[in-house]
């Protein structure tokens, strides 16, 4: 069966998107990262390798960390997506404890990998609010960072554990 329309929930907002070509529509070959960035304007999700190998485009799908560059949007019908833009409190603007901890530890240099790092860490804390350092390192092992922010990232995540919402 061919889909003509899909429903996506992104950061608690429901989007109904037509399948097809042209602005605002979803082409069957559009990846989720493309839809988020180009169609919905959510550029917080970063693209680096566009090939599944860097984790820069990590988002949460039904609470789990997935690579948005490796998913066809058309196959995400009915899914609940959280992007980096969806972590802070929409009303108060208050940051997620993980985000605050990244700031406190300067857990970034250029910051290009940071949204992906935070989303991978968020997925971990959703599942395991009190991980060990080894578990944090494993959970983040699919996230490339060329500046080597890893050490400060691991510290930031450990510091945020237990404080996650």
């Amino acid at each position: 069966m061919r889909k003509h329309q899909i429903n996506l929930t992104v950061n608690s907002q429901v989007y109904q998107l037509e399948v097809g070509t042209g602005q605002g529509r979803v082409n069957p070959s559009d990846t989720l990262s493309f839809t988020l960035r180009e169609t919905l304007g959510l550029t917080g999700t970063k693209l680096s390798c566009d090939g599944g190998a860097c984790g820069g485009c990590t988002v949460l799908m039904d609470g789990e960390a997935v690579l948005s560059c490796m998913l066809l949007t058309i196959e995400c019908d009915g899914k609940i997506i959280t992007t980096i833009e969806g972590l802070k409190d929409a009303k108060t603007g208050e940051l997620d404890p993980l985000q605050q901890s990244f700031i406190d530890h300067t857990a970034f240099q250029c910051g290009y990998c940071t949204p992906g790092m935070i989303m991978s860490a968020k997925a971990l804390l959703n599942e395991n609010p009190a991980p060990t350092e080894a578990e944090v390192k494993k959970a983040l092992s699919g996230n490339f960072c060329r500046c080597i922010s890893h050490y400060q990232v691991v510290r930031a995540v450990m510091d945020a554990t237990g404080k996650g919402r």
Binding site: M1, G52, V66, C69, M70, L72, G142
Partner: protein, 326 residues
């Protein structure tokens, strides 16, 4: 990525008919973690007209023991193989192998069927269009194998015939050590193929309109010692340079049954039968172990840059068997 028709299917049978309708110009998509890299790289002559989504088929992700067999549905995610209590307890070689695949994010979407059916990693074959590719080679149907005279550090050390690419699937190696069979559905019905026979020198067993439905593994009645080892330059992400899966039964200090399988050394997982025979009926000692490891690599013929894989393979086999005693 260039565009394509997109079709959701709701049963394996529908997947087969849709494949047939497109006469080889459609590709199945499970987790997509391999297929999308193939489409983005745009290195094959036949870009698909349609992509068929298998994820809309319900009930294809399961891990259950049923009569004589452990059955795993083709859409079972690697994440679920890693965390399955049943596998951890009785088939740890499977959960260990699944854990070594790719990264956490990929394991959350990657499926067992997709893992078995993924395309080769040969870097000549995959050389992308965007930087001056694609490249023709024997596997693509024209010209010689470029790896023979090229950089073949990751290529086959045995069993290569014309194409020297290795089977990239980690799951295939573990499944072969459990005598796993791939259940394939096609227009003429179902057939079962040993995992080791599933791979051909330049592709796999699937006809253009066939779909993998399930993996079937004979249930282990007696306790076995299982291990999966994977040699890579880095722990996450990397494909195996060499891997080994061993399933060994030991009774009163004597090895009574053994499966020793090597991965990433040949176009298919390789059962080291001579090594298995050598072990059976003997106690596992440093000596039998070393002899078995040597046996496992008899007949290996390295290319110009991959002789080191022989030494690594021997070491993995040795460590895996010795691990049984500690």
């Amino acid at each position: 990525m260039r565009t394509f028709d997109h079709i959701d299917v709701y049963s394996i049978a529908e997947a087969c008919t849709t494949l047939r309708e497109y006469q080889g110009r459609a590709r199945l998509n499970a987790g997509g973690s391999d297929l999308l890299t193939v489409l983005k790289g745009d290195f094959l002559a036949d870009y698909p007209e349609a992509v068929i989504n298998l994820k809309t088929i319900s009930g294809m992700d399961y891990i259950r023991e049923d009569g004589e067999y452990l059955r795993i549905g083709t859409l079972t995610r690697l994440t679920d193989l890693v965390s399955s209590p049943l596998l951890k307890e009785k088939y740890p070689v499977l959960s260990e192998a699944a854990y070594t695949v790719a990264t956490p994010q990929i394991r959350n979407v990657a499926t067992l069927g997709g893992n078995l059916c993924q395309d080769t990693r040969c870097w000549y074959y995959r050389y992308p269009r965007s930087i001056g590719g694609p490249v023709q080679c024997l596997r693509k149907g024209s010209g010689p194998c470029l790896a023979i005279k090229g950089d073949n550090r990751y290529h086959a050390i045995m069993g290569g015939k014309k194409c020297f690419a290795v089977c990239p699937s980690d799951m295939a190696v573990a499944l072969a050590a459990l005598d796993g069979k791939v259940i394939i559905v096609g227009p003429e019905g179902e057939r079962r193929v040993e995992v080791t026979d599933f791979y051909h020198p330049t592709g796999n067993e699937l006809a253009k309109d066939e779909v993998v439905r399930e993996i079937e593994i004979p249930i282990k009645r007696t306790p076995t010692q299982q291990s999966f080892r994977k040699f890579t330059l880095r722990k996450p992400i990397d494909f195996a340079i060499v891997s080994s899966a061993t399933v060994i039964t030991v009774a009163q200090g004597i090895c009574t049954d053994a499966r020793i399988v090597l991965g990433a050394v040949a176009p298919a997982p390789v059962r080291a039968k001579a090594a298995e025979e050598l072990l059976i009926g003997k106690p596992i000692t440093e000596e039998t172990d070393t002899a078995a490891a040597e046996k496992a690599l008899v007949g290996a013929k390295p290319l110009s840059k991959n002789e080191y894989k022989i030494q690594i393979a021997k070491t993995l086999v040795k460590q895996a068997i010795l691990g049984v005693t500690d």
